[in-house]
Symmetry: C2
Subunit: 333 residues, 2 copies
């Protein structure tokens, strides 16, 4: 291992000077030839700064923690990808863990990005010492979230999906909601608001217990097909539900999109790969993680204490699964 002292010896200067030169400390005047000697010596010896020693001396780890409550969430992978690239670009390492405890050990990270929830007791505690940015969907219309959050609105996503379907002429619209977690039910509000605003009939399927999310979609779609009046379009709360629903429609011989339009909320390759390319209202997960990282680094490097919520827009992605309902179907039987 090559140390500053080794370089100092080679270049006939002190280790302090080497440190300042290698870190481009401009407030410290060093003559041209000396800089030259030091740089050459460093290059020749193949110097790599010891991150630990630097971290100890400066009190900065140059590392950011990425914490998430569910890694298998399809959105996680894109968040991670974007975050890692951004962190690297800014000279930070990324330490991942699903357990906030991992980051409590003193000084392991300079800040934390928490994915998937706008709060977490242990993370809140961590936030008292070091900057934390929360990233995830919000239940509210607009940016009604607290500080230090980067969000998108599931309310708006649901609203936008229904609006799209209403625009195509659908009058009766189903919602596949999977389980009945209260936090998730809250997000039905966007669906309900749109149904009310456009004077539609909403058919909600909730409370399915099956542990397999694809199967939840499958079963809920089965029930939906038995409803009177039968919806001509359906909004699924996530990728898995949409895929399960699609499977049900396939088996029941219901043509998509001719007899049933399908749109879902999500953002992954999953549903894009189905036998009918599904339209969606997509959340800006990758962008959100980039924004979160930039905000976090600003907090770390510039000592910013707090920034107001950033709410990123939902995007409507039109593919092949939504069309206007057939005349015979749009009028109730």
């Amino acid at each position: 291992m090559v140390t500053l002292a080794d370089i100092a010896r080679h270049a006939n200067v002190s280790s302090g000077t080497v440190s300042r030169v290698l870190n481009n400390k401009t407030d410290y005047p060093v003559s041209g030839p000396t800089v030259e000697r030091i740089r050459r010596a460093a290059a020749e010896l193949g110097y790599r700064p010891n991150v630990m020693a630097r971290a100890l001396a400066t009190g900065k780890a140059q590392a950011i923690g990425l914490c998430y409550h569910s890694i298998t969430e399809p959105m996680f992978i894109r968040i991670l990808e974007a975050a890692e690239a951004k962190a690297r670009e800014r000279g930070y390492h990324l330490i991942v863990s699903s357990n906030p405890e991992s980051f409590f050990a003193g000084s392991i990270v300079d800040g934390l990005v928490y994915i998937g929830g706008l709060s977490h007791p242990r993370v809140q505690e961590f936030a008292r010492h070091k900057p934390v940015v929360f990233v995830g969907p919000s239940d509210f219309r607009g940016s009604a979230c607290g500080p230090n959050t980067v969000t998108w609105s599931e309310y708006e996503a649901a609203f936008m999906a229904v609006k799209h379907l209403a625009g195509l002429g659908h009058r009766t619209i189903g919602a596949l909601w999977g389980d009945d977690d209260p936090a998730l039910l809250l997000r039905l509000e966007g669906f309900r608001a749109a149904v009310a605003e456009f004077g539609l009939t909403g058919v909600e399927e909730t409370g399915e217990q099956d542990p397999d999310p694809t199967r939840r979609g499958y079963l809920q779609m089965e029930r939906l097909l038995g409803r009177e009046p039968r919806p001509t379009a359906v909004f699924a709360r996530n990728d898995y539900l949409a895929l399960g629903a699609l499977k049900q429609l396939f088996e029941a011989g219901v043509s998509v999109p001719r007899e049933m339009s399908v749109i879902y909320y999500g953002n992954s390759v999953l549903a894009r790969a189905a036998y009918v390319e599904l339209s969606s209202v997509s959340h800006p997960n990758a962008e959100a993680s980039v924004v979160a990282l930039e905000q976090l680094i600003a907090m770390i490097d510039e000592g910013v204490r707090e920034f107001p919520n950033v709410s990123l827009p939902i995007t409507l992605c039109e593919h092949d699964s939504c069309v206007s309902p057939a005349p015979s179907l749009s009028t109730s039987p």
Copy 2:
């Protein structure tokens, strides 16, 4: 920030003693009451060891790097999940990056797991200083890989898939191989060997250029349907190809599995969510990352220099997409 010195002052001992007590150094005798006092003081003050200082003193970062060449590979997420849990269990942090350079900074990690290739020039260089374990598919039959690798055999996967189809009575079997990357073509060997061994006719589709892997599968399946004799079963090299193929079959009105059996190589939720639950030959990616981590930690903690290749078995996962060919189809027209 609470330091060892603070605790030492509180407990009326020296910081050295505190360190030894808190780290359970058994070779160092400390009286019961003293241990009590130290532990209580640490708890009261809310002591968190400074990882950086410890790392500097011990020369160990208690961190492992996870490096991958493609994060969007569907298998990556399961590898990461398993690796993170294992690392945490063993008291290591996990630092992820797609860029090996990230780990070259002195002493940032104690070792490296490289996912997705059995070699990489920069990582090889890293391996000269610190332990590295490579994880990924191998092209060979059995465990013909170098040391410090955890692999599974794509040769065997392809062989096993074809064997399964042959056992069901299929005589003409297609292979969807996507692009014509030489490294990937090598893996066709398992397919060819099985075709030869069971006296079948193999129809290979390769060299598709489209950048979208799902579309590659879609187009290759289209071509395959025009072949004479038309295969009654098809093996797809990955999830995306399988999904694209399935879409083609749907549009062409070819029933799966009645008119065409489909099996693919992979291991993700992707193809499980299709309208016909696809059978597969699955690779042990999560297990591999766990084994890799254990081996790596053994190398770090016990100074093991090298371990022989570990080759994990491929699993046949039977679902709904493979059946015996219809009599009218199994005999050539």
